[in-house]
């Protein structure tokens, strides 16, 4: 990418990153060959890709651009006295053993169980400084969108594509369309990035971003910390967009400075100078634009079975009778039937059984601080799991004494992993239970067959934990 091509026309952040990674341009007959800078990997979506490499006698082309962890199948209880891990079942254990074998056989850097860097793939990657502005990042995981918070083009791929990237460091891709989500106004105290993204998805719908890469812009986005930006981009996929992006700025550069894989000293300054050229040019055109005003946004909570079914925490459960479109009415009716919630009733005060604080959406230090601020000096009235997103987060939280606040409140302070976000490791709801969860999906059965998920921010989840019911966190931290 030269200065001359830069000057040719105004481009969006997405176009700049895309253009810089085209190995072979797309034609009507063939998609673009797109180069991948960073390939992240976990145990669930990689085994069949390594099997394919073995079948075809292929190697991992760039082990130095490949980074793996274990997170989905791993237990969140500590190692047993005899040194073994308390896996939920033999399949979980075999899956973790498989990525350990694959990493060894193919020379891939793995931060697995017992490694101080281990964590949820979208938490540990940025912590290691592996995710950097302007990169292309992929992983066999839809929440790869998270890494777009750094101004990277980051998206989830399937296992066949994991195999393609392992073998060639490239993907075949048609260029997606661009969608600007301009966020006007300022978030009120007690309202967070999670509330913002739930509001955006409620506005555009779960399929609203299909075929697009979202770029989040505007003053409310610039005001977010990196943790908040990661929460926002993380859930781009819940609005149907494979990737969400935020232009890098001083907040980004300060966060990256000193991280292990980030260039140091003069090389860092040079990198920052390059990264400053990434933001969307004045006059660049998006395929679509949506504006969201957040001045009056309240903490959000979902009542239904997709992430677009969210309402303000002070709101009432919608009435399907008021819905004119028959398909939309059927969707709403089916959600309320599954959730066993009554139309027209306030969501505040809805009794709950479990609270989950964690995940790639809200398992970072700032998220835990938010939850601790509400739980401090109070007792939980439900089963409450607090699961740090990584060992680094866990260590930092313990250094601040957050673990004591959670334990004193009666919450379970667990080892890092995906845990109850998708309930693959035995951390799961019982049928019929209600859970206020800081994760990203409230799909039927996501947290265990028959389980009922209400998505919310860490503060709202903590408020629910100490209230035993859906509660407004603003009433608990002001008093």
């Amino acid at each position: 990418m030269t200065a001359a091509t830069d000057a040719r026309r105004a481009r969006t952040l997405f176009e700049k990153v895309w253009d810089a990674h085209v190995v072979r341009a797309e034609t009507p007959e063939t998609p673009a060959v797109l180069y991948v800078d960073l390939h992240l990997m976990h145990e669930v979506t990689s085994p069949q890709a390594f099997s394919m490499l073995r079948e075809r006698s292929l190697k991992v082309r760039r082990p130095d651009r490949t980074l793996a962890t274990t997170d989905h199948s791993t237990p969140t209880l500590p190692r047993l006295p005899d040194g073994r891990w308390p896996f939920y079942d033999a399949q979980n254990e075999a899956q973790v053993a498989q990525i350990e074998r694959n990493a060894r056989d193919f020379g891939v850097e793995l931060h697995g169980l017992g490694d101080p860097q281990q964590g949820v793939v979208h938490v540990f990657g940025p912590e290691m400084g592996a995710t950097q502005p302007g990169m292309t990042v992929v992983c066999g995981d839809s929440h790869t969108a998270t890494h777009g918070a750094f101004g990277a083009l980051a998206f989830g791929i399937g296992t066949s594509e994991v195999g393609h990237v392992l073998a060639t460091q490239c993907l075949l891709q048609r260029k997606p369309r661009s969608l600007a989500i301009r966020v006007e106004g300022a978030l009120q105290p007690g309202v967070t990035a999670k509330d913002l993204v739930l509001a955006i998805i409620a506005q555009i719908g779960v399929g609203g971003g299909t075929g697009h890469v979202m770029e989040f812009t505007g003053p409310a986005v610039r005001a977010l910390t990196m943790e908040g930006r990661m929460t926002l981009c993380n859930m781009a996929i819940e609005g149907g967009a494979r990737a969400g992006m935020i232009a890098p700025d001083d907040v980004t550069f300060q966060w990256l400075a000193g991280k292990p894989r980030v260039p140091q000293g003069a090389a860092f300054e040079a990198a920052v100078a390059r990264w400053r050229r990434l933001p969307t040019d004045d006059g660049a055109v998006y395929d679509r634009e949506v504006t969201v005003d957040v001045s009056r946004l309240e903490p959000m909570v979902t009542f239904g079975t997709n992430p677009a079914q969210g309402i303000p925490v002070t709101g009432r459960i919608p009435d399907p009778g008021a819905e004119k479109d028959p398909a939309a009415r059927a969707t709403l009716e089916s959600a309320l039937r599954y959730m066993a919630l009554t139309p027209g009733k306030p969501i505040l005060g809805q009794k709950i059984d479990v609270v989950f604080v964690g995940s790639c959406t809200n398992g970072r230090l700032e998220d835990l601080r938010e939850a601790a601020r509400v739980m401090r000096g109070r007792k939980v009235r439900t089963r409450t799991l607090v699961v740090a997103g990584s060992h680094a987060v866990k260590k930092a939280a313990e250094a601040e004494g957050l673990d004591r606040i959670f334990r004193d409140a009666g919450a379970e302070w667990r080892e890092p992993g995906c845990s109850m976000c998708l309930a693959m490791n035995g951390d799961m709801l019982e049928p019929g239970q209600y859970c206020v969860s800081t994760s990203n999906r409230n799909f039927e059965g996501r947290q265990g067959p028959g389980g009922r998920t209400l998505l919310a921010s860490p503060a709202t989840a903590a408020a629910a934990a100490v209230s035993g019911a859906v509660a407004d966190p603003r009433r608990l931290v002001e008093g």
Binding site: P47, G156, S160, A167, T210, A327, R441, G445, P449
Partner: protein
């Protein structure tokens, strides 16, 4: 992959919108390290009760649904996770095409890599199929058309390269591997 030119079948209709990948195959079935036999977990929480018995009223369990290879679903099929286990489960069950008004990006990519044809129709044509469960349809890959039960024909979009792969039974990896020289040249510039 076997080449696919046409798919002829009666339809199975699940009229729900936003059928997510957790419904297609719940997370607890993702602990496998191969892709065999996932068809038995397809729509598991809708197909079976808590004791594992088939729910007789669920459409896939109806006698007339046996052998059907075309699934018609509501808008925005396959939203959610990137799990390729979703198309693996559908294909293992015998489904060869999924028809909706919108299909999620990652699911569509994954489907195509497994010879499962994602068919996005205009709302009017789609509505005809929703209204006629069990109707006979014929999907023609080459002309990108679906012959509907009322005798009309609807067309659907299909990327030229994806179409070539389906018609010839080839996968993308071969093409990517043939790009080695261009990839190496790109890397030497970075």
């Amino acid at each position: 992959m076997e080449p696919i030119r046409t798919i002829e079948s009666r339809t199975v209709v699940i009229p729900r919108e936003n059928i997510d990948t957790d419904q297609i195959i719940p997370g607890r079935f993702l602990k496998v390290t191969d892709k065999q036999g996932l068809g038995k977990a397809l729509f598991s929480d809708w197909r079976y009760d808590a004791g594992g018995k088939p729910r007789p009223e669920f459409v896939l369990n109806l006698p007339e649904a046996q052998g059907c290879t075309v699934l018609v679903a509501g808008d925005n099929f396959g939203c959610g996770s990137s799990r390729e286990h979703a198309p693996w489960a559908l294909v293992d069950h015998g489904i060869r095409a999924v028809v909706s008004t919108r299909i999620a990006d990652i699911f569509r990519n994954n489907a195509l890599k497994n010879g499962l044809v994602p068919v996005v129709l205009d709302p009017a044509s789609h509505a005809k199929l929703l209204a006629a469960p069990g109707a006979k349809v014929r999907i023609d890959i080459s002309s990108q058309t679906v012959a509907l039960p009322d005798g009309t024909t609807a067309s659907f979009p299909l990327d030229g390269f994806a179409k070539y792969c389906l018609l010839n039974g080839v996968d993308e990896l071969g093409f990517l591997l043939s790009q080695e020289e261009a990839i190496a040249a790109f890397e030497s510039k970075v």
